[in-house]
């Protein structure tokens, strides 16, 4: 098996910082699912800078199963040159190909998103096809704690274990949030990892910004002989941007320009203490897209 590219953690963190800035810029005009985008910046940096072997033949593939989390993927794809940063600011604009929820023909995305519970099945189908052709291709499927409430997910969890798809990794973004509130309140899915291990998977629980833990988990996934691997990624919406903390329970964020500019200044290492105090006085939006 070809090893993934090596990248030191400082470089990965710098990529994540750029991804976060892109997510913010994408949100300025029309708002966005920025909380999720920011929360996933770290794992996206690890995937696109280290774990996914994009030069492999055929290349490793990321299957985004939760379409609403597309911002992080768009932003990561900009870091590897699939999109220009300017184009991404047309996110969610009428007529733009940078849609909130991507389709199969959107560059850099593998499947049509938007109807939950279908990504893992397709990722498993891909993993099976590559395995049967003896191709060294790995599939990473990005899902979430809300999405695994869909029964069809468990059909594919069973399938992946039955077919011993050890070239399949599923990331469950465990942010304890879904549209109607906290996942724990709406429909509890915890504990997540034991459910997967009971189905015959291996896995690990990792904090969303724990780079060493993430790299270790992916390393483990490569030696999970005969078993698919799940990474339960504990995240918090808007992670990594303190000035947006008041939106950390928001499914969708719309905010004034000053708020986004403050977030950009924070990501550039600027002093935001004074501005943040004023910002906290402002009412948050209703969180509806």
């Amino acid at each position: 098996m070809n090893a993934p590219g090596k990248c030191d953690i400082a470089e990965l963190k710098e990529t994540a910082r750029k991804i976060r800035k892109t997510v913010i810029r994408m949100s300025i005009e029309r708002g966005g699912f920025a909380g999720q985008g920011l929360a996933l910046a770290d794992v996206m940096a690890v995937l696109y800078r280290s774990e996914l072997r994009l030069q492999n033949s055929p290349p490793d593939r990321l299957v985004l199963s939760v379409g609403h989390n597309a911002m992080a993927v768009y932003a990561a794809l900009a870091e590897i040159g699939v999109y220009g940063h300017d184009e991404l600011t047309s996110y969610s604009a009428e007529g733009s190909r940078i849609e909130q929820v991507p389709m199969e023909d959107t560059p850099g995305f593998e499947i049509t998103n938007g109807s939950l519970g279908q990504g893992l099945s397709q990722a498993a189908g891909m993993a099976l096809a590559h395995k049967r052709r003896s191709e060294d291709t790995r599939i990473v499927c990005l899902s979430s704690d809300g999405e695994i409430q869909e029964g069809s997910v468990w059909e594919s969890v069973m399938f992946a274990a039955h077919y011993r798809l050890d070239n399949l990794v599923m990331i469950v973004d465990d942010n304890d949030m879904q549209v109607d509130g906290s996942t724990s309140d709406v429909m509890c899915v915890r504990p997540i990892l034991p459910k997967f291990t009971a189905f015959g998977w291996n896995g690990a629980v990792v904090a969303g910004d724990d780079y060493e833990g993430l790299l270790r988990a992916f390393e483990q996934s490569r030696s999970s002989a005969g078993r698919p691997f799940v990474i339960v990624l504990q995240t918090e919406l808007c992670a990594g941007v303190r000035s947006l903390a008041r939106f950390s329970r928001r499914h969708f964020i719309r905010a004034p320009l000053s708020t986004w500019n403050l977030a950009l200044r924070e990501l550039d290492g600027g002093d935001i203490r004074e501005a943040l105090a004023a910002e906290r006085e402002m009412p948050a939006d209703d969180g509806l897209p």
Partner: protein, 317 residues
Amino acid sequence: MLNLTGRPAVMVKAPFDTAITEICRKRPEVVVLSADLALYTDLFTVPRELPGQFVQVGVAEQNLMGVAGGLAKSGCIPVATTFAVYAVRRAYDHMVISMGTGPSRGVVVGFLPGILNPLRVHHQTLEDVAKLRSVPGACIIDPMDATELIDAVHASIDHPSLVYIRAERGMVPKLLNRGETAFAIGRVYPLRSEGDGGVGILSSGVATRWALEASVILQSRDIAHSILHVPSLKPCDTAAIAQFCAGRRLAITVENHSIIGGLGSLVAETLAGSSRHAPLVRMGIPDAWAPGGSVDHIRRQLSLDAESIARNIMELL
């Protein structure tokens, strides 16, 4: 059952198995999937002899469509098999989103559509064509016999969009000889032409056999009629349908599907845009759950047996 030359139709065993085996032997990229119904959907040879081209997903129709979609996005041509009712009810969203938005594509074979299943509403689907007809780009084929089923499966493999085939299993009548009708997606087939006036009967799938049975009775009563077989419900040569109906006393559709959304609706929509057309009467499954039992029993209950179809046509004249 008589064939088109008036001789008793030959019964052919498991035509789908024949077709899919021929295809898989020639095309290693074709992969057939089943959701624990392989033995009930005539999928015998590929699982046994070409296991690398077979995927069993267990009782999980949503995953069936999803895995098929994943295979399609990895250089394979998936053929997902299940009962029609499970494809279009339980797994409809998965079929459309995972297999039907393109550019990747796949084939879904729905067995025992309409009243071909002896069990009631939970096993019969009256609405599969209606649902698929409104999916952009989807292709729907409703073959009339074993030969056309085999031809349809062959034609589906290289069609550039989601293809849904309504299929029979077991011993299936063969009315057409292979290569005789030159099946092509989109085409319609005149099976009987008796002048441009009189009654025009349009039918699809097994209902074309019902129309041919009724035709024997109509001929014995000297009722002038023509039959147009419409196996390809989408895409469809609607210009040919409009032309077939123009100037007739009466147009009749006969289908193994709800009279809402299937062939009857297709013809009504076609004629609505034409200035010169016959009155249309739709025969099929009424807007009610069908009874269970043998196909013959259900047909009699729904006035879809040959005698009832012929009698109702004569009463309309």
